[in-house]
Symmetry: D2
Subunit: 350 residues, 4 copies
């Protein structure tokens, strides 16, 4: 049993971490930090936790945190991790930073996309980018893991088996993602998040400028050894959870894309022995609903000989594999647990 603390417990990611951790056989939640709900039970923020045995919320304090827990999830907004992570590392703790502070290796890119100077350069250098399936050994050895962005997770899992191939043109790739709205969080209120405005509304946003673009490119460059530059377009759809990523890649000059069956075989080999990535049979398409509330990732593959392109579709839960689920999976790797511990529950359906 390890003692785990969650900093930023009263946000959506915090709630989802608590939910997963309550079902985890190797973990005890011993510390919940939330300034908004200081001194109150977390069920004040989320009545769904009524009847659970959980500590009261308190305002984050390094000494208390360090005394009460050994492993931390930092789940506050961007910018918070830069301050907290180094001091927790110095106390010998392990940390997963759920937001973006430790994802981008290039501080200039970070500054450009997030509008802040990075103030934790050493920790950033040490941090491992935590797509669990792609870097399990590095994650297992890490003290600080940068939990990937939700869109980035979907895009990277969809394209990782493809970008290293010789038949695809990495400059041709387009990633078109459709997300539920929980990614916007609970605390930043705007009319755009109201039920009345989201319902029946589908729209793109941050076209050509979204922050997850450099994250996707950085990771696909690492995997492929090529200079990947792509278009990423996020969309909001009227649902709470889920990201459906549709990725397009054209054949490289003079090449022909493999058949759908060959693509499926390729992906299944790539993700063999991965408990959470399911490559669907030919003719099947993933649906966000099938991974709702889980750490699973469903991938569909179609090869279009007419246009010489492949179309990869990938469904994850933005709060699960796209946030809290993957964070738990990374914790499992970092702590030497079975990587699937506490994460195998199937989606609630319907």
């Amino acid at each position: 049993m390890i003692k785990v603390g969650i900093i930023g417990a009263s946000g959506y990611a915090g709630a989802e971490l608590i939910r997963y951790l309550l079902a985890h056989p190797e973990v005890e939640i011993t510390y919940l930090a939330s300034s908004t709900f200081e001194g109150k039970p977390i069920s004040e923020a989320f009545p769904s936790f009524l009847g659970q045995n959980l500590p009261l919320c308190e305002s984050y304090n390094l000494d208390t945190a360090a005394k009460k827990a050994d492993f931390f999830f930092q789940a506050q907004g961007n910018g918070a991790g830069m301050k907290i992570v180094p001091e927790l590392l110095a106390r010998g703790k392990k940390i997963i930073d759920v937001p973006a502070d430790f994802r981008l290796k290039d501080v200039e890119t970070y500054k450009k996309y997030y509008g802040m100077e990075h103030i934790a350069i050493d920790a950033l250098a040490e941090a491992v980018y935590g797509i669990s399936e792609l870097h399990p050994k590095e994650i297992a050895a890490a003290r600080i893991v940068a939990n990937p962005g939700c869109y980035a997770t979907g895009a990277i899992l969809a394209l990782a088996p493809l970008v290293g191939s010789d038949f695809v043109c990495v400059q041709s790739m387009i990633v078109d993602s459709k997300s539920g709205v929980s990614g916007a969080g609970r605390s930043k209120l705007s009319a755009a998040g109201l039920f009345c405005e989201v319902n029946e509304g589908c729209k793109a946003y941050d076209v050509a400028t979204h922050r997850h673009t450099p994250e996707i490119e950085q990771e696909l460059c690492v995997i492929s050894g090529k200079d990947v530059r792509l278009n990423f377009t996020p969309h909001l759809a009227p649902m709470n959870r889920g990201i459906l990523t549709t990725a397009y890649a054209s054949a490289a000059q003079g090449k022909t894309v493999p058949t759908s069956a060959e693509m499926i075989a390729r992906y299944r080999e790539f993700y063999a022995r991965q408990p959470f990535v399911m490559v669907l049979d030919e003719g099947k398409q993933p649906c966000t609903k099938d991974v709702f509330g889980t750490n699973f990732c469903h991938i569909g593959l179609v090869s279009d000989s007419r246009t010489n392109r492949v179309i990869v579709t990938c469904a994850i839960d933005n709060m699960g594999k796209g946030a809290a689920g993957q964070a738990i999976q990374n914790m499992n790797l970092m702590c030497g647990f079975d990587q699937a511990a506490g994460l195998m529950s199937p989606a609630i359906y319907p």
Copy 2:
């Protein structure tokens, strides 16, 4: 570890039972019966089960069933249990019948509301009506438990602490329930169930004639020792899951209803030591979302001195406490497990 079989595995209740049982520490799912998906993995019916270790579906056969499992959930439609339950009992098995066949003790009422002659009179006489909180000892001793209806569960939990009191007029009670649409199931298709027709639609149905009415009255009569006759009105709201029950009761002649605080104290005493029934603080109202996907029941209480009435509100998940969750809780009681085993996960939120 007990070996469990689900008959009717490819319906919504079947899927929900599988989901709960996969997380149950004392159970192994060894038998799944579905004629529609015979010979196929259950993930063909519900891709959410991809990656889980589950037996293939087969058509129900008594000998095979009896060989493969010791405890059964009968989750096919009304009328199926009357045929299957007696033969499984004869093989020494324990069974929970999820639909309505064993709920109504009076066969004439059964015939009137369900349009069928009852053909399993002995099993009916033996069956225990399974509101887990109200009849734990009888359930623990039972071989056959009739799992209560979803609406009935909400109404009974809302009113059970009230009907035995001397200050309330049991003839004054009105139960107005709002349900998600998953209760209609997956197999009976009609235009009324289409997303396009449900979305933005709220309406009552079966007003004054719904089948759960005699079930609610039968149980409240047993609890109170009084002749309860009430109005029950079910409504559909555009959501997958959840039942919000709003129950009204007037003070008995010459009596005054207790204050909200007194009502809350009364309910908390009634449900003390019950892990799933949460009586909310004064001023709080239960929300179906807070119990989504769970076996929990949240109850709110308001006393209105202006009209001398009490208003009880009660939120459950119709697929959880209203069906599969309560069925598992009953199984726990019948098998001598902790009644909360496998059921403590909080709601997914948001």
Copy 3:
């Protein structure tokens, strides 16, 4: 052609008024007041108005308003009408106040429920409560009409034909209403209004204390000449629009409720020649979806001989018949137009 101004144009009620008025044959929108969008086209607030010929928004100013329009809809929050209505009346204008300032005749009740001293006593005395079907002559003669609350409209239309009868006990009435969330408006942001929190959530609020209670009672007292005191419970359901009201009334001492068919005949006679109130055939139930975006009201009637109660169900659009639609209908009456002018479009379906 009359010149119409809308004060509070950038709220939901404002938007709905504009939508109706654009389709009105006798009206020209000449003035839109919104401090938030001063100097901007209303399409900045609602891109749905792109391509429409509408004046720019301006901050409310009495002189400008009086110069530009002859008929006004005051659609800002509670409290605004008390200030604006008297000065517009003094300039010889006609006004419909959409919020609550002129609904309650008793200023103490107003103060109790709205927390404000009433500062426009003369205008309040003059104001006509605007359920179009019940007070057409008074409305036609009025300079200031108080547009009824959305819940109140549904409850009053459901019960008006009943409360004057001798067979019903007016002290027994219970009104249980289910509403979409647009009634909360656009400007008051809270986490409770977020899509993520509303979706899959059904709950009651303001139980026994909601502001529309005195409004319903005041009007039903006027109609019936009896002292009506009832329970009104509002609920939120995950939809944008619509109110489904379920009202219960018991037979008076020694009386028997009429049959459903008799009730239907009674209601049809009551609402004969009313273009917007549709009393459904026996066995049919109204659905909010069928009146979505309209000024229609659908009513269903069931008589329960078992409990000697009648159950009346009533569907309206809270933004239509419950707000902007009824306001236009009242304007039609006040201006001598056909009361259905501009309002006959059926619901968008699906």
Copy 4:
């Protein structure tokens, strides 16, 4: 006043046609054909039509139809138009065929994608493909217009101003569309259309094989004079209505894409004097909600210098501009009415 008949009145497209036509100043609905609702009022199919003055439904019969109306909308499924259109043309009637029978000029392609032999070759040759903005003169002169597919309408309006340019590579184009589920219609029931299964689900379907692909390509080839071959991927999102099309095009070899501002200027010039196509200001993105229930089309433009691509987003209502709205617009052109007659109502919001 022209006399209009709708064949297939009880489907969603039929209902939407009726709704628009009821608001049309030059039209009288004199004939409604529906075999399912023969002899009944259309309000049996859609209670939203209660209170409207409409003829009873009857089974389609050529003689009766020809006697009762002069202009027809054929809104039954694919294959029906091939039979009905020639005989109505022979009676001197004008017809708009809403489904697919007259869209594809190549009968082999029709057979390949729709699985039927075409049996109305002459009418097909005569039929005009009805994107109102692109072929107003041909439509005005036509007796038979093929109403475009919903996805095709969005894709064509999004790309028409682009494909003729010299800076874009037409072979690079990708069209990724997100649709509400009303396009599946009301009569073909499947579990996949249930509220419970659609809610929280986003997925692609018919990837690389959807029937609207040849329709989009045919039209873009006509407009551009180039051989257009593209990828079209339809997706379902949990909403009733709306299609959000996201289209990607790369610069032609050696070219640079214009800036966003230049693209916007180009599109505004292309759609100048078109009442329904709104090209949004720089930085704004279209949302399906803003065109809900209307014939409007909102277009957003972003130029990405980093990847040398343009991203065009386009929102329409699949039942409006994507079906019934455009059909009315085409009728207006065919009948010499103002092309916007009866169609200018803004979206219901929220």
